[in-house]
Structures are given as C-alpha cells and as structure tokens.
Amino acid sequence: MAENRLMTGKDAIREALIEEMRRDKTVFLLGEDLEQATFGVTDGLIDEFGAERVRNSPISENAIIGASIGAALTGMRPVAEIMFADFLMDAMDPIVNTMAKARFMTGGQAKVPMVIRTPSGAGLSAGAQHSQSPEALFMHIPGIKIAVPSTPYDMKGLLKTSIRMDDPVLFFEHKMLYYEGGEVPDGEYTLPFGKADVKRQGKDVTIIAVLAMVKKAMMAADMLAGEGIEAEVIDPRTLNPLDMETIINSLKKTKKLITVEEGARTGGIGAEIAARVAEDALDYLDAPIKRLGGVDCPIPFSPVLEEVMYPTEDSIAAAVKQLLG
C-alpha cells in the first residue's frame, strides 16, 4: 500500500495539476496571475511547463472561459482558474449558456472536457464580493458537473478525475482548506464523481456537510459523542451528480437530517437535498429536517459580523440536540 504524506489542500491541488499535466500534453492552465497566484496554487508551475501551458491571462473572465470552451471543443483539456468564485458571475454567460449546453445543442457532436477551478468561501474578511460560496447556483444548470472537496485527499483525487472527464466541471476550492493539512497517499489515485463519503459513522442523526463545513460538522460530532450522541457525517463530495443513495441509506438508520453549508441558506444545497428527501424518503424522517447555512445576507467585511454569518461546530451541535431533544 502507498504511504501517506501530510499535505495541505493547496499542495494536493498543485500535485494533481502537475501529475495530470505530465501525463497528458493536452492539459494546460489559464487564468489571472498564475505565476504569482493569489493563493499560491500555481506558483512555479511555469518553470516546469512553460508559458505556453501556464497562461497568465488578462482580467477577462469571459475570454478565459470562452477560450477554454473553444480549446476543449478542439482537442485540449483546459483547466481555467477564476481567481475568486465571486468572479464566476463575470463569466456566467459562457458558463451557463455555452459550456453547459454545447454538447446538447449540437445534438451530441460537441464535448467540452474542461475544468474551472475556483476558490470560494469566507473567513478572510474579504467582504461581500470576495467571500461567496455560489456552489448551489450551478446545481440548477443542467450540463455542469460540480466538485466540492473537503480534504486534501478528496481535492487531489477529484481534481484528477475532473481533468480526465469529458464533461465540463466546476471545481470549488474552499479558501480556508488551502492551508489545512491532511493525508494524501503516495502514487496515483482518482476519486469518482457521484459517490458521497461517509466521513464518520453514527446512528443518531445524519449531517450532510460540504467544503469547510465538513470539518465543523466533524468537530460537532466529536462534541456530541462526548454526550453520547452518535452523528453520521456525510460529505457528498460532488453536487452533480449527487449521491442521494448514501444519504437516504443513512437516514434509514438515523431518521434525522441536518444539512450544513456556507452559501446562503435560501436556495442552497440543503434545499435540494431536503426536497429530495421530502419526496423520496419522507417516511424515514421522524423529525423535521434542519438546514444550516449562511445567513441570507451579503457577506460583511467586519470579522465580528462575518463570524455570525455561518454555522459553527457549536451551532451544528446545538441544532442536533434540538432535533433529538
């Protein structure tokens, strides 16, 4: 068996990029400031792969995504970086109206094997335009696969799969996870889309969490364990496809569901999960579903305000106790 190394999220992503670029000459990177990247993910890659394959781009999000689509249509596997997920809004048209639909509109002639990597999430007092978690928006757009990894292991494995996938992928990297450590095996591995990961087993309540909220959910589960409550923590890892089977199987056991996300609660990931459960697994529930998420509010600069925007280990644990109580 491969040995494990302790690695940050940033390095895990970087390693996935390096391995895939070495493996496949059609993989290349484009995006703003890749040589001295805001979060450092791509720093130095230009030394190995050259300026042809690590393409520092002007501040032109539409042109970056458009060029990625066109390159993907013609034999390349572009990995575009959008510097902050907030700036996806700047390229929403090519993402929604071309990237997601090209294959369908051409009756299957086209394929668009591209990845958009982008950091989402708050925690840096970066304010309303640099802290958003817009993952849920894209669940409503058929044609886009979506990855939301929560550990360095998942980041590396899912990014490698994303790059090899023939459908377009939106790959969210939570800013705070860039610097968190985790174990990553030596050697080659990939992770499948549509397969949730049960991060912790438990019988009393099912907590679905994504991205940085997985860690908070795990901390809450630890706290609850001290009080004799066994929470099962499930990380869907991809939002499209979404592995409802694992979620519903857990519910059969726990009969209680809490969803936890950082994006705005209304219209969020939890809404879709809750709705599917209310449609397909209502009978397993013996308590109301509880959705935790970002407050329906633009994200404040002030750290004391930013702190109260999001679920915490305490609020998750409190919600569980309320539900069980």
Binding site: A71, L73, G108, D167
Partner: protein, 318 residues
Amino acid sequence: MDKSLALNLYATMFRIRTFEEEVKRQFEDGNIPGFIHLGSGQEAVSAGACAAINHDDYIGSTHRGHANLIAKGGRTDKMMAELFARETGSCKGRGGCLHITEMGVGSLGANGIVAAGIIVANGAALSAKLQHNNKVVLTFFGDGATNQGKFHEAMNLASLWSLPNIFICENNLYGEATPLAQHMKLKDIAVRAKAYDMPGVVVDGQDVLAVYEAVSTAVKRARDGKGPTLIEAKTYRFHGHHIGDPETYRTKEEVEEWMEKRDPIKLFKEKLIKEFKVKNTEIDPIEAKILKEIEAAVTFASGSPTPDPASLTRDVYV
C-alpha cells in the same frame, strides 16, 4: 484568381441564397418552427471568407449562421432537416437556426448569445497554436456584437497571444431593430482594431473577390504566427432580422436599392461574364444542380422523423 475558384465562389453564394429563400418559404408554410435569421444579401462575406481557408480550419458563427456554415461545407440536407427539427438534422433537431452546427466540417457552433461565439473561437485558435497544426479560425459576428464586452475581451486576448483568429464583422448596418448610429458613434468598426494594436481592414462585403483577398491576406498573416486581423465587411441583410420582423426601422426604398444595386450574386455574375469570360451555359448547370440539391434537402427534411421524446436527455452529458 482562376476561373474554377471563381465559379466555386459563385456556386457557394448561389447555394446560400437558394437555401435561405427556401427556408423562408418553408417557414412561411409552417414547416419550420422557432426564430429564423436569414443571411440573404450577405452571401459574399461567408463565401469569400471560407474560400480562403482549408477544410480542417475552423469557423465560429452566430444566430445568423446558415450562410457561414454552408460556405464552410455544411450539408444543406442536414441543415434543412435541422431547421425542420428532425432527428436527421445537423444537431438532431436540438439546435435549430440559432445553434446550427456541423462540427465535422469545422464549425464550432452557431451561438445564439450575441458575441458569445467570439470568445469560443479564440479557444480553437489557441488549440491550433498549442497543437502546432497551423490551423486558423474565422470568427463571424455582426456590427451589434462589437458593443459587447466579450468582443473586447476576445480581441485583446487574441492580439496579446497572437492567436490565429480572423475576426470578421458582418456589418449589415443594423443590430436587430437598431441602426448602427444608434448603437455606436463610429462609422467604421475596423477602427476598433487599433485598441488592440491589431490590423483593421474595411472591405466591400458585397464583393466576394474583395472579401476573399482581404481574408486571404489575414489568413497568411495568422499562419505566419503574426496574429489576428479584424475585417469589417460592409454588407446588408435583404430580409428582416428574423422572418416576421415588421422592419419599422428602415425604408422599403433602402432595402430595394440594396437588392437592385448591391446584390452580391448579381454583381458577381456580371463580373464572371465580363471579366472571367464565363458563359451563361457554364453557369446554368451550376444553378440547376444547386436548385435540385435544395429541393432534395427539403424532401429529405420533410421525410425525416422527429426526435424520439424518450431521447430527450441523451446528450446532456458524455
């Protein structure tokens, strides 16, 4: 230019015109659903431009894309079937006029979002560069599209990265119901090339030879690694923005004048006869063959099955 190429240019224009006028009839007869944007009047731009590139080069196209695709070699039977929304269509009836595409002949797709095809075309040019295969891309778009942010971003990127992309603006003087002077202050859109340190060329879009020459020069430049060119072809659409357009924004006289004096097909036919010494007896069979081809296209289209509703979600993902 040799006579056979000239005759080919003529045939392409005649094929486009015949196709478009037939589409109009079929739409009016209720056989074609949706919004249809015709290219009659603008044939010389597509024909002249596409004659200047190879089969394995690419084109990017717009909502007014029939002419671009025919000139690039798109099959008119599949195109007609597409407009009829049949399973045998170029896009299996999923795309229609707005998205008509035949990737096998180098089309990157007609894009119904104004200017959205331009940014995508850059990507194909980038592929050509990264794959060192010396291909080029022709990107067609309208005058109105040049006010879109995407046009600007694409022009800057192409220039900066010396992409082998030739930007061809079909300036037909209107964007939908809005005349040029109501959407920009410039008279010559080619001036916009200066903002990217790119060559900008104005050409008579009703003169197929002039278009061919201008695009050939730009293609050579692109293949030599010297980067993109903006070509503004002054042209005119003979029909409304889409079939059914009330055309309140222009006069009948204006349209008639263009149709009479500036019809690219008429003009080139005269030139063929006068300058290329072509005889009518050489042209007639070409026209006859095309008329038959389009007739057969209609037969093919109307005889084709509609898509199976059960196949709806077949091509959402690979």
